[in-house]
Symmetry: C2
Subunit: 358 residues, 2 copies
DNA sequence: CGACCGGCGGCAAGCGGTTGCCATCTGTTG
DNA sequence: CAACAGATGGCAACCGCTTGCCGCCGGTCG
């Protein structure tokens, strides 16, 4: 490499892309001046800068991002880690993040964890040294691992709270309150939560908020799980619910809810007449299934955008409040998978009533 | 920057991550030896290498990918350009690509074009200098623009053929033949194609193959469009079909097909009794809608994987056959959105029969 | 009218690895 | 035993850009 020829682009054959040195030579200035002409507006005389820009354009000069990143550390790269690209939830977040990143002149580097802690850490470890910030969407890593990366790069975590790390979380309390109220208004007195992955913070939080809201409203709650956050997981859950499912179930997310409905229906149950099902996230298929799924909707795209903006702000030296800030508003999208509870006369004759006290 | 302090990590405070120089000093060798110990196995004595590795581990040394990329150009980054992350089709491709990339020690840099030529070119232009290869999935760029990037980096394009650029295309001819045969077997004598974006190569090809297959089978075909490749696009298409839609329609992709069904049903038509609908891609929602969508399925994930592998091979200096190679097999997933054509007695009394001759 | 100052360019030392070439050293070969 | 080849490690020149510091120059101030 040390002996690579460096002739002045003989015979017009652009053997190698031009560097600032080529531009400098052609413009009759020093390389440092060229550098400044591009990255330090105002630092060089306007006329000179213009000339340099002109020469650069003629030569087809393009700054080498690698070379400029080496001394400065600015790679213009952001890591976005998702637990499963295949989940439509992330498509929205990615879209939002991508858009905001592009606007800020950044490029996003996507890491798919495949729901695996290992893959996630490995990938992140590879990416960390070259990115300027990290967005953890639906991470399965431990709090300490997250804090570790946050120590190295501006980091924002989505839908999870980690001490000392900025985060953007949805208003789970509100969401679950809405769900419970909706269900209560439809005469439901008990509901069961179908849990997602244990490693998911959102799962824990949703379950907790659901319990609280239910207690407030005087509904009984139960929990079953954990299950994979997929349609298959939901189908699995359906069998776990047994032959006599509850009258209302709240699923960890839409995919689980959909799988659940599918399996329930396949088993001869009817939704929503016998069983009301509520999902979470409002992914596109939620409005496509029959019955259309009642679900909690969150501003996913906005969340992706805001996450990038937060990282960008931190990169620019903002203080970066570490708290969760104000949770993002959610709303309940009522569709056809929930209905008034069927009159209890016909319901579970086999179970004793003693556990119903409250 | 020139005067940044460089003390020997006094007081155990890891002020700056260790470099090969630190390792070299600690191990009593030259920096070049450290470099080789890591990147040129066998070049240094096994014992020395081991000692260096040990010292490096103790110091917590990690190679700086930026620094090593500067002289060599190996960034371990791959650009994956999709026209719309929000389309589930790409989720599968991304998943396949991500997995293969991780296996090859590469990281994927995702570019979302938002169905915009501009965004796509801009993003790619930013990314190109730092990636080692490019995968264009559903690009909207011009052939010449594609060839341009292929000239700069190993490139593979998905579902599109561009002279002199390696590509991975699905067997559209087979797919459409299957579709036509299926429809013909169900007494359909005419069908209309609902087109996707004009800039889409796949759209053009599918339409062409459909026409050919239909001609072969003696079916009449029509085309309407273009429409955006989304559910909304499909809904739009439904109104374009007018009050008396054809008995069979083949949509550019599943999203269009779904939008179409939705709108058709909303307008009081019944699918598949009145109208058979066929989609393309077999995205998840296809099996969720009612009726479940008959569609052409392609091995998306495999396609993503193979694309990465092809780029990796090219990077490693493989000759990279530039042809499209053998098209990827597809199959027709028959579900409930297609049915035997209703007996023609009741059909379109208003139209003359003269055009039916063939 | 000399000291001072701001504007503008240039110099050169990095950033952290990589690698061609060379010097040693050791074990072979004739 | 001398010539030689292979193994091994070091030197130093890059990769292309950034930036602290300095010097020069013309203008301003006291």
């Amino acid at each position: 490499m040390a002996d690579r020829k460096r002739e002045p682009a003989a015979r017009d054959v652009p053997s190698r892309p031009p560097t600032i040195y080529d531009v400098a030579a052609a413009a009759g200035v020093a390389a440092s001046t060229v550098s400044r002409a591009f990255s330090r507006p105002g630092r060089v005389n306007a006329a000179t800068a213009e000339r340099i820009r002109q020469v650069a354009a003629d030569l087809g000069y393009r700054m080498n991002p690698l070379a400029s990143a080496l001394p400065t550390g600015r790679t213009s790269l952001l890591a976005l880690v998702v637990s499963d690209v295949t989940n439509p939830v992330y498509a929205e977040i990615i879209r939002g993040a991508e858009a905001a990143a592009a606007e800020a002149g950044l490029v996003v580097l996507l890491l798919d964890a495949h729901e695996s802690d290992r893959r996630e850490r490995d990938g992140l470890e590879r990416a960390l040294p070259i990115v300027e910030g990290v967005i953890l969407a639906g991470t399965r890593m431990s709090d300490s691992a997250i804090r570790m990366t946050a120590k190295q790069r501006p980091t924002v975590v989505l839908n999870r709270q980690v001490a000392d790390v900025p985060s953007l979380v949805q208003d789970n309390a509100l969401g679950m309150r809405l769900v419970v109220r909706h269900l209560a208004e439809h005469d439901h007195r008990a509901l069961t939560y179908v849990a997602g992955p244990e490693a998911s913070w959102a799962d824990g939080m949703r379950w907790r908020r659901l319990r609280e809201a239910a207690a407030e409203a005087g509904l009984r709650v139960q929990r079953t799980g954990p299950f994979p956050p997929t349609i298959a997981g939901g189908q699995e859950a359906a069998t776990a619910l047994g032959p006599e499912p509850p009258t209302a179930v709240v699923a960890y997310n839409d995919q689980v809810a959909i799988g659940l409905m599918l399996a329930l229906q396949a088993a001869g149950h009817s939704v929503p007449e016998e069983i009301s099902v509520v999902g979470h996230d409002n992914i596109l298929p939620a409005q496509l299934v029959t019955p259309r799924l009642t679900t909690v909707a969150a501003p996913l795209r906005v969340q992706g955008r805001d996450a990038v903006n937060a990282v960008v702000a931190a990169r620019a030296g903002a203080p970066s409040r570490t708290g969760p800030g104000v949770p993002l508003p959610v709303r309940l999208v009522v569709r056809d998978s929930t209905a008034r509870r069927r009159h209890p006369l016909s319901a579970r004759p086999a179970r004793t009533a003693t556990t119903d006290a409250r």
